[in-house]
């Protein structure tokens, strides 16, 4: 155990302590960190209390990230569990094929696959073609990655509610963004990244569930089948309660992963169009590595940590509460 502890302390805790320290400095990320000036809570004040571009960007990124997580986590968890149960059946043929193909997107370098998806999301790309086919031509092709329209804004539009007709309270500013902006929903471009992200993470989550399902004794299933339980009953009454600790693990991983989504934004959109795919992790990168504000970037990272940690605790309470 001791070597593990030392390794962990040196290579995980020390860099993190550095990062926490930086969040209280004005470090630019270029000159040696010893030269950085200690500025107390200045970075946090700018991010939370000073009306301006830095606060606006932070909350915009937080909003986008929240929509992202809210969409992706339930989707990937549910689909992964479903697929895991299906490919775990002893009687299933071509089991290895199905398992491997569902896991495949998790394996490949996310850079290459994100670039490939840029093709698929083009106006005449595959995604639009498929949508056109299954809607019998009713689908209007869109340039996914260049479309800043928010999903909720689009839906509001169907009911005649636009920025111009929105009531006054929607125009009010809350934390440097208008209420109307807060309620945008994920943009079309962000949804494109959400779909890609779900598609690439399902496999990983499926494998975790698959491992958890091994702990469900065979006799339990056999007994249930003998009693005439159908597949749905078996799933909700037996499988789900037994994989609950794993559910906590998968949802926590999902939260961590989605709140830190970076690669796909970096490759596919750089935060655009109209900052609708600007995520918190990408904002950290941009401030730290292209805008010479590493202190500010570290402060954002720390705020992000607090948010994810709180969500995890809440989430743990929910999953454990039902455990009895």
């Amino acid at each position: 155990m001791t070597p593990a502890l030392i390794l962990f302390a040196v290579f995980v805790f020390i860099p993190i302590f550095f990062a926490i320290y930086f969040s209280f400095t004005d470090w630019n990320g270029i000159s040696p960190p010893a030269e950085a000036k200690f500025v107390g809570f200045e970075n946090f004040r700018v991010l939370l209390f000073e009306d301006g571009i830095r606060r606006a960007d932070f909350f915009k990124a937080l909003k986008n990230t929240a929509y992202f997580s809210l969409g992706v986590v339930p989707m990937q968890t549910a689909l992964a569990l479903l697929l895991a149960v299906v490919v775990n059946q002893r009687r299933l043929r071509f089991k290895s094929f199905f398992r491997t193909s569902y896991y495949f997107p998790s394996i490949t370098s996310s850079i290459a696959i994100s670039m490939l998806f840029l093709f698929l999301y083009q106006k005449n790309g595959l995604v639009n073609q498929v949508l056109e086919t299954i809607t019998f031509g009713a689908w209007e092709p869109i340039a996914w990655m260049a479309d800043p329209r928010g999903l909720f804004h689009i839906i509001f539009g169907w009911f005649g509610l636009t920025l111009e007709t929105a009531p006054a309270w929607m125009q009010a500013n809350v934390l440097s963004l208008s209420v109307w902006d807060w309620l945008s929903g994920p943009s079309v471009a962000l949804m494109g990244i959400m779909l890609l992200n779900t598609w690439t993470t399902i496999g990983t989550m499926m494998v975790i569930f698959l491992a958890a399902l091994q702990d469900v004794p065979r006799e339990v299933y056999e007994a249930a089948e003998m009693d005439g339980a159908n597949a749905r009953q078996i799933f909700f009454k037996i499988t789900l309660p037994l994989v609950r600790p794993t559910l906590f693990f998968v949802v926590t991983l999902g939260l961590i992963g989605t709140f830190q989504v970076f690669d796909q934004v970096y490759v596919m959109s750089s935060g655009g169009p109209a900052k609708t795919t600007l995520t918190v992790a990408y904002l950290v990168y941009r401030n730290g590595f292209t805008n010479s504000q590493m202190g500010l970037a570290a402060a954002i990272a720390l705020l992000l940590f607090i948010i994810i940690f709180t969500l995890t605790l809440v989430q743990r309470r929910i999953t454990e509460g039902k455990k009895e």
């Binding site: 290895s96 093709f119 600790p245 970076f262 490759v267 990272a301 940590f305």
Partner: protein, 290 residues
């Protein structure tokens, strides 16, 4: 499908309807598989196309002029060496990760020591800070340990991961304590209980961790990027691929890029194919214990 009827003796469904249901289920599973695999099929076909053809729309599944241009460019680089580096690093990292994660995960869930819950949360917490702000601190740590441009710099920091500990801890949590207690009553000490009783039960989790660790190491990009400053002989495959790509510039050699990605993906797919066989539905506890 012949065996299936033997398992459903209690249900009174006509065989014809049962068969239709089976066919439809399999059709759906294959459709999902298609959705998951199609982009790769496309990637493979694109890796054999010429640059002008890659720009053509609609995208053709079969290349009109089949070319090895992309693969030649890929192999003009030192990929063999890079693949060996990746393999070496991933193997060591995986073995140590599984070992340490199993021990630490077990200790955290089964040995009640003061503050164990805090330590557990602190370990999970480390996963929640974006790695990008830790890059420079990590570089400074590695530099002060003289590990820049070395295998040890690539391997040692990755030998224990919060992810692994978390994963193993969650699985130990699910294993009934009664089984250990029974072993303990039989006179086994803690270490023997761990190695002979608990670890075999955690086999599915270990299999999962092997897959993830190997994959994580195999695809790791940022860490090798900062560790290797000058010696290209120490590049790993993802670094080499990124080198091939240049920046995210405009004149992308798509065929070479995808050729490289496919060649990197293949070994990992084989690893998965091999290890996934250890996931067998419903291992019974009585069977493993002996």
């Amino acid at each position: 499908m012949t065996t299936s009827s033997a398992y459903t003796p209690t249900r009174q469904i006509s065989p014809w309807r049962e068969n239709l249901r089976l066919v439809l289920s399999y059709a759906l599973l294959f459709l999902i598989a298609l959705i998951f695999l199609y982009p790769f099929v496309l990637a493979i076909s694109t890796s054999f196309k010429t640059l002008p053809e890659i720009n053509e729309r609609p995208v053709a599944l079969i290349p009109q002029t089949f070319t090895l241009e992309g693969y030649q460019r890929m192999f003009s680089l030192n990929v063999g060496r890079w693949a060996l580096n990746s393999l070496l690093i991933a193997t060591i990292v995986t073995i140590s990760n599984v070992l340490f994660a199993a021990l630490a995960g077990y200790a955290l869930t089964r040995i009640a020591f003061p503050g164990s819950r805090f330590v557990f949360l602190a370990i999970i917490g480390t996963m929640m800070i974006p790695g990008i702000v830790q890059l420079i601190p990590m570089f400074i740590v590695l530099k002060s340990l003289n590990m820049i441009d070395s295998y040890s710099g690539l391997i040692v920091p990755k030998m224990v991961t919060a992810f692994g500990i978390f994963l193993m801890a969650q699985f130990f949590e699910a294993i009934p304590r009664e089984i250990e207690e029974a072993a303990r009553i039989d006179g086994a000490n803690r270490f023997r209980t761990f190695f002979q009783v608990v670890l075999p039960l955690a086999r599915p989790a270990i299999v999962a961790l092997v897959i993830f660790s190997f994959q994580g190491s195999w695809n790791e990009f940022m860490h090798p990027l900062i560790v290797i400053t000058t010696n290209q002989d120490l590049y790993t495959l993802p670094l080499g691929l990124a080198f091939l790509r240049g920046g995210l510039g405009q004149n992308l050699q798509w065929n070479a890029l995808l050729a490289g990605s496919m060649l990197t993906t293949l070994p990992m797919a084989l690893i998965f194919l091999f290890f996934q066989r250890y996931f067998i539905e419903g291992i019974s506890y009585s069977g493993v214990k002996g």
